[in-house]
């Protein structure tokens, strides 16, 4: 293949653009979710996931998930080296099927919450969180 200078520039630019795209999903995240669901399909709705639109620091990102009627909820960070974050199982004395925690995000990416409902079905919610690089290292 003969590359002209112009082609090379265009190629460079598109590669650059690619590196700027957030981690939307990864095979590892899909695998982790499939492990939790046993490969069952997930529907949208029934899970509310609250995350900041922009996280000031990826070390400590507040995340809340609420899935009324769920028996278990798992949270995944699709762009982390290992996508699993937490899996919460709710007992008979749980006051709600909700959990808030603080998590690490390696960069801008999707956070995914999957809830296992009492009837064995699975529901999913997903939010993109932009992780900024701070000012001075301190």
């Amino acid at each position: 293949m003969d590359l002209t200078r112009r082609d090379a520039l265009a190629l460079g630019a598109s590669t650059f653009a690619l590196t700027l795209l957030p981690f939307r999903a990864s095979a590892a995240a899909d695998d982790a979710i499939a492990t939790f669901t046993g490969g069952a399909a997930t529907s949208d709705g029934g899970v509310s996931l609250t995350t900041p639109e922009i996280a000031e620091n990826g070390n400590t990102v507040p995340v809340s998930v609420d899935a009324p009627g769920a028996v278990a909820i798992a949270i995944f960070a699709a762009g982390n080296p290992t996508p699993e974050v937490v899996t919460a199982k709710f007992g008979p004395l749980a006051g709600s099927q909700a959990l808030s925690t603080r998590i690490r995000l390696a960069g801008t990416q999707d956070v995914v919450a999957v809830a296992q409902m009492a009837d064995g079905s699975f529901a999913k919610a997903s939010n993109t969180v932009k992780v900024t690089i701070g000012g001075c290292g301190g």
């Binding site: 900041p52 900024t132 701070g134 000012g135 001075c136 290292g137």
Partner: protein, 286 residues
């Protein structure tokens, strides 16, 4: 090596950010009330000796909503797990005299009220300006017969956080017109002295560009009323001197050491720039 490369890239980007500053502030109109009880003064008229601004702002004002919320409740504020640790060491006997902090000072919530607000402070007996850290180590070596703690070590920063708790909400009121004046002038000179390969003084960022973006972050006025601070970045408490060291390193200079005369002077001067803001320590920053 890794750190210096990161620092270089960071500052190059930071400089670009400086010129592109947008003047936005995250929580310009928000107010901070801790535990639905302590009303913090996060903006106040600038002290007369500060010429650069009319209003001084706590660093809290410049943070995102999520970070701000962490400071509104002592349970959500992760600094308090370290305050708990400091309560244990407050009550622990150490040294040859068989004393703990509690032996003389009993309940820190009562005996230490108001202390953070007036430090650094001239110590007549010692004939020097003392920071809270110096005072703690003074107690340890002179009263307890114990080894001094590392100036910016974990034991020390946890302890200064505990000592700050009962002063929260009180206005910072650090003196600078008595015998401490010479140190204060030295601190002021340092504040306006450009350092490092990037030739930046404290004032170049924190006076000229507060509120602007420095990369993806809002520059604050560099107030220290919230120190020690719990930083999300390193998930621990950080002293003012550790922050000074980080700032000066980012100008690519050799920095002064925590506890050095230079940093004591700088802390004294910077503290007086915040006279009128509330003591917030231990606060939460990114």
């Amino acid at each position: 090596m890794k750190t210096s490369l990161k620092g270089t890239l960071g500052m190059a980007a930071a400089l670009a950010g400086l010129t592109l500053g947008t003047g936005l502030m995250a929580g310009e109109d928000d107010n901070l009330i801790v535990n639905e009880e302590i009303e913090m003064t996060v903006r106040a008229p600038a002290p007369e000796h500060v010429d650069a601004f009319d209003t001084i702002y706590s660093g809290w004002v410049f943070r995102s909503d999520e970070t701000q919320a962490l400071q509104a409740d002592d349970f959500d504020n992760p600094a308090f797990v370290f305050v708990d640790t400091a309560i244990d060491s407050w009550n622990t006997v150490d040294g040859t005299e068989g004393k703990s902090c509690a032996s003389c000072h009993e309940d820190p919530m009562e005996s230490m009220a108001g202390v953070r607000a007036v430090y650094p402070k001239w110590n007549e007996q010692a004939g020097e300006v003392r920071t809270l850290e110096m005072q703690v180590n003074g107690c340890r070596t002179e009263q307890m017969g114990a080894e001094p703690w590392k100036y910016d070590g974990t034991d020390m920063v946890n302890m200064t956080a505990l000592i700050s708790v009962p002063s929260r909400g009180m206005p910072v009121d650090v003196s600078f017109d008595g015998p401490e004046r010479e140190m204060w002038e030295k601190g002021k000179e340092l504040y306006y002295t450009r350092t490092g390969q990037l030739e930046l003084a404290c004032a170049n960022c924190h006076e000229d560009h507060y509120g602007d973006m420095i990369r993806a972050d809002h520059l604050s006025q560099g107030q220290i009323n919230g120190f020690p601070v719990y930083r999300l970045k390193n998930a621990k408490l950080n002293s003012a001197h550790a922050r000074f060291k980080g700032c000066i390193r980012d100008t690519r200079a050799h920095t002064f050491a925590p506890g050095s005369d230079e940093f004591v002077a700088l802390e004294l001067y910077v503290a007086t720039r915040g006279n009128g803001l509330s003591v917030e320590a231990p606060s939460v920053r990114n």
